[in-house]
């Protein structure tokens, strides 16, 4: 038994080492390759700053939208009975598998000027594609299913008796959700938020097709990297390193903020 304990620990170390190697080595190589002086210069260029601004606004908006609409949806789903649940789960899995470029296409088909829904919208004088809203929409389309699916499972895991206790104390469904279910899932939800945000920064295919690549409007840092890659790979690396740095700072800031908010609790 003590022997198996050693084995397990060794296995754990091995696995962790493998993963660490796999992740750190490429990152390290990337940083080595990049050139700090150039990065600084890039950071100062208007174009880069514009892309950064678009990236941050759209990612934050999308993350917010995914939370606002996804949390209640996930809650509703986690309260479904078995049969409905499986249907909805399968439905949510459909968009997960779409390559992003196809996702972008599907979005164009639906919301483009000649799209099913787009025709209705443009009759009202609204046009979604090639606007900042389109970037946000694309991010939601690609990431919301993942978020909802996972969050529903989280809500499933919450001890049902606690929710019952809340109801018996007079809490309506919203109060119970807000003050019992949500806070019980706080830590995984924060992790989820960070990940949705980071992923939304890195999205590419759906965004370029549906929203285009218009500087100051829909051109995100990721698209800028892609452009740079087309014309000058060196710049792409520099931009990527910048992206890495910015998002790291953001995540750290977010963490600190959250920790201060709840007074270092738990």
């Amino acid at each position: 038994m003590s022997g198996s304990g050693w084995l397990f620990r060794f296995g754990m170390l091995l696995a962790a080492g493998f993963i660490a190697l796999l992740i750190l080595l490429p990152l390290f190589s990337l940083l080595l390759y990049a050139d700090p002086a150039r990065q600084l210069a890039l950071l100062r260029s208007d174009e880069t700053l514009a892309a950064l601004r678009v990236t941050l606004t759209t990612s934050l908006l999308a993350t917010g939208a995914i939370f606002v609409t996804g949390l209640p949806t996930a809650f509703a789903i986690s309260r479904f009975n078995r049969k409905w649940r499986q249907l909805v789960d399968s439905l949510l899995e459909l968009p997960m598998v779409l390559p992003q470029i196809v996702a972008g296409l599907a979005l164009l088909l639906a919301f483009g000027r000649n799209g099913i829904f787009g025709r209705v919208l443009s009759a009202w004088g609204m046009q979604i594609p090639f606007s900042t809203a389109a970037v946000v929409l694309a991010i939601i389309f690609v990431l919301a299913p993942f978020f909802i699916r996972r969050t529903a499972v989280l809500f499933d895991q919450v001890d049902h008796e606690l929710e019952e206790a809340a109801q018996l104390l007079g809490a309506g469904p919203f109060f119970g959700f807000r003050h019992v279910t949500l806070p019980l899932c706080r830590r995984p939800l924060i992790a989820e938020a960070i990940m949705v945000f980071l992923q939304s920064i890195g999205l590419f295919g759906a965004v370029i097709l549906f929203a285009g690549n218009i500087p100051g409007r829909t051109r995100t840092l990721t698209l800028a990297i892609f452009d740079a890659f087309e014309s000058n790979p060196e710049v792409a690396f520099a931009l990527a390193a910048l992206l890495l740095l910015v998002s790291l700072l953001l995540v750290l800031a977010g963490r600190l903020l959250l920790r201060n908010l709840d007074g270092g609790g738990k």
């Binding site: 019952e164 206790a165 809340a166 003050h179 806070p183 738990k266």
Partner: protein, 357 residues
Amino acid sequence: MSGFRLDIAFRRPHLALDVLLEIPPGLTLLLGPNGAGKTTLLRLLAGLEKPDDGTITSNDRTLFDAARGICLPPSQRRIGLLFQHLALFPHLDVRDNIGFGLRAQGIGKVERERSIAAIVARFALEPHIDKPVAALSGGERQKVALARTLAARPDVLLLDEPTATLDQENRWRFRAWLAEILAEWKVPTLMVTHDPADAASFRKRIVVLEGGRICQRGSFHQLLHAPATPFVADFAGVNFISGTIGTDNGATIFTSAAGTRLQAPFELSRSGPACLTVLPWEIALYRELPEGSPRNVVEGTVRDAIVLGDRVRVTLLGREKLVAEISLRGYQAMGQPGRGATLFAAFKAREARVENV
């Protein structure tokens, strides 16, 4: 018509409940063996499970009516349920746990703080008010759960074994306090318990649930003197022997299921299946078979002998299980017979009571 009435049926493969019960303001105790369906009954009343049939009314408010299709959600039933496993909110500290119900009901901060303070003081929880519940001891948690339930000012109170993990002092405090609260509020309260001390302190209204049905209701005194089932007898600490009344050579006699023949006053009973009860303090114990005695005598070996103050409670196992309570002095005079010793239990025919079943 004030109080709480229910008449419900609930059928599942593992349990069939069929209960008609009225809970007047004040305390009603619910007894029953492990697995009798007590917790399930409370959950049905609270709206956490749905009865298959029947009605539940609380102070003239219909909470449930299968025929009329009424089924209020738990949050609108105004029922306070203390869970057997407490279900404290692990993400909140003691103060917020207690204040949860008030907050859920939209009660303002000032009034809320006042109510919380009052309840916290009553339960002597001040030193713990800012702790997360995970940092509390078992008994402290129980107290917080109780405080939380009561703080929400329910119309009906359902308590699932509230005293189980309290220490003796806190149990007494809790009982005194509950009696006080109920005298003040007159809330119908149903309390599940396994502690005979609870039954002894709240002895007016007791309901016994066995196998999903109410098998006896009455005061503790009634239970003590006419236990309807072995469980009740055991709970009340009364000896209970099932058997039949028959005649042998013209004389009436009670024969237990195990074959022991016993005398009793048979004036009020007929032949047929019956049960015989005898109180523990009516039984005398002897080392040797008491000779020439007109009494019923049963032989057995000591399972345990526990000292309760100046008395000793001896449990004998033999053909019948008998509990006798004798004085400590008498026990010591016998030489303190311990586990495994053989003793003879004797009781007069007129101390026994038989009842047809």
